[in-house]
Amino acid sequence: MMIYEEYILRRALISKVTQETKDTYTYHIKPLESEIKGAPGQFNILYPYGGGEVPISVSGIENGDIMHTVRFVGAVTRMLSKMREGSVIGLRGPYGSIWPLNESKNQDILIVAGGIGLAPLRPVIMEVKKNRAEYGRLMILYGARTPQDLLYRREFEEYSKIEDCEFHVTVDKGDEKWTGNVGVVTTLIPKVEVNPKNTIAMVCGPETMMIFTVKDLMEKKGLNESRIYISMERRMRCGIGQCGHCQVGPFFVCRDGPVFQYSKIKRYFEVKYI
């Protein structure tokens, strides 16, 4: 007799829900059965009863609770949107590769995030903050469509207070109250001084945004492609390299990614409709 252990969902309790934007909430999730881990860059699969599974990046770990920031875009995520403190959900993971924190020791870190793309990078910011001495300068470039779409606004002050940290935010379209930058996230790149020999860039956002960011980082900042890391999104039905959906060329995003060294994925990433 055999069972499919890979697919056993573990029960977990939503211990806290924070609204980030109109359509994005952060969930603090407390494991009920066994500990849930998750390193920066990795993702878990969340399962609202009867809805289906969705891969969601780890956006933080706090007091043993794991945090996931979810934007409600489809059937399953909209089901999650109805979950409140005390709801039970299913979860499996963590899966996937992690941001190159080891390689970044004593290096400057440049984070470029677009929209919901800040969620998987938040744990990196927290890690640098916690072990500040181990890393070089921290530069965060973050863009969203409107001021209302910015994630973690309540934490922005905390980010800018991190020692030796540059934090730039932009929106595609401002409103009356907005006094900051306006423009796509790549317009922030000239604002930072980058030492190409000593910087690791971590990029996450919509695919077009990543294409232009990487291009700028290489062409304008002279960053070598092996110093750039991107986090990719694909349809995933299993999360463990079985179902085939997440392939990008020879890579399974769920196992070989989602975080890729750009030099490794470049050949495929740049091909249309790959």
Binding site: M2, I3, E6, R11, Y49, G52, R234, R235, C243, E270
Partner: protein
Amino acid sequence: MKSIIMMGTENELRTLFDKFKGKATIIGPKIPNGEIAIRYCELNDYSEIPREVEDDQEPGKYKLMQGKFFRHGFDSPKKYMFPSTLKIIRVEKELEVKPYNYDPKETVFFAIKPCDAAAIKIMDKTFTWNKDAYYNAQRGKITIIVENCIKPGKTCFCATMGTGPRATENFDIAYTKINGKVLFEAGSIKGEKILMEIEVLKPASNEVIIEFIKVMDEAYEKAKAPFTTINLPEKLEINIANENLWKELSEKCLGCGNCTMVCPTCFCFDIYDESHLDEHVDRVRYWDSCFTYRYAEVARGHFRPEIWAMYRQWILHKFSYWKKQFNILGCVGCGRCITWCPAGIDLRENVKKASIGV
């Protein structure tokens, strides 16, 4: 393991079949009542294996007729280890998860073709890497008896893929029917032991072996594609961004997905949540295909929204990425995707064109 060729007659083949009767589920070729193709199904008796029939296969065409040697229909051993529909887990309210249990039976694949045996080898790599519980449970209980192909069909290209027409690995016993004789080879210790129990079998004489080689050599020439696998992954990827090429190659493609469904190695699946009124949900695994529109769809976009890109994914996965993923090519040259493509697209021609560019 001694690879001695033993000689017998059809009687010994029947004896071999009977050895498994009652001890294992025997899966082999059969034309079930009213069917119009050879199918792999459970056999109760040796006599159910078709005789005096031949399958005429061409791109987009399959016909059964009178003849001496048949190959295969559209289904392959894949469906026994990777069922087209499978309940994985049951979830009850409050998220109580109850896994379904699997208890696969001891199974013999009898009279499958060398390409099918080779496909199992590929699946072994993909599914073992994947830790697929169901696959592994069934796979551990399988005996493979191969019939070598003395007459490859018009869509076969196993010779090019190095998987046939004579089986060289991944089988327990292989046999070849030549002019009234049946030659047996063991491919594993298990196979050797079984053969030893059939006392009537004698080592084949040199003349018989020469005859055997000649038949197999002739067969080999008939199962070639117009390309070689040497450096194929690299050659194909040179054209990866050549949109026009892929558009031309997929000009007739209907995106119906038949090719991936009949392929003995394709492994993609989807999982549906089948909710029931009594408040339980079955998470069910179904075969999926890179030709379905939803395959590469994400919440707000689509990574492969056009047929040509899907077609490229399929070819490149089989003939390039697969090698990088599993250190083996994903195609065995059985030709099923050529025969069963309703548009009759000839994969061999397209791989050839893609590997040199147009």
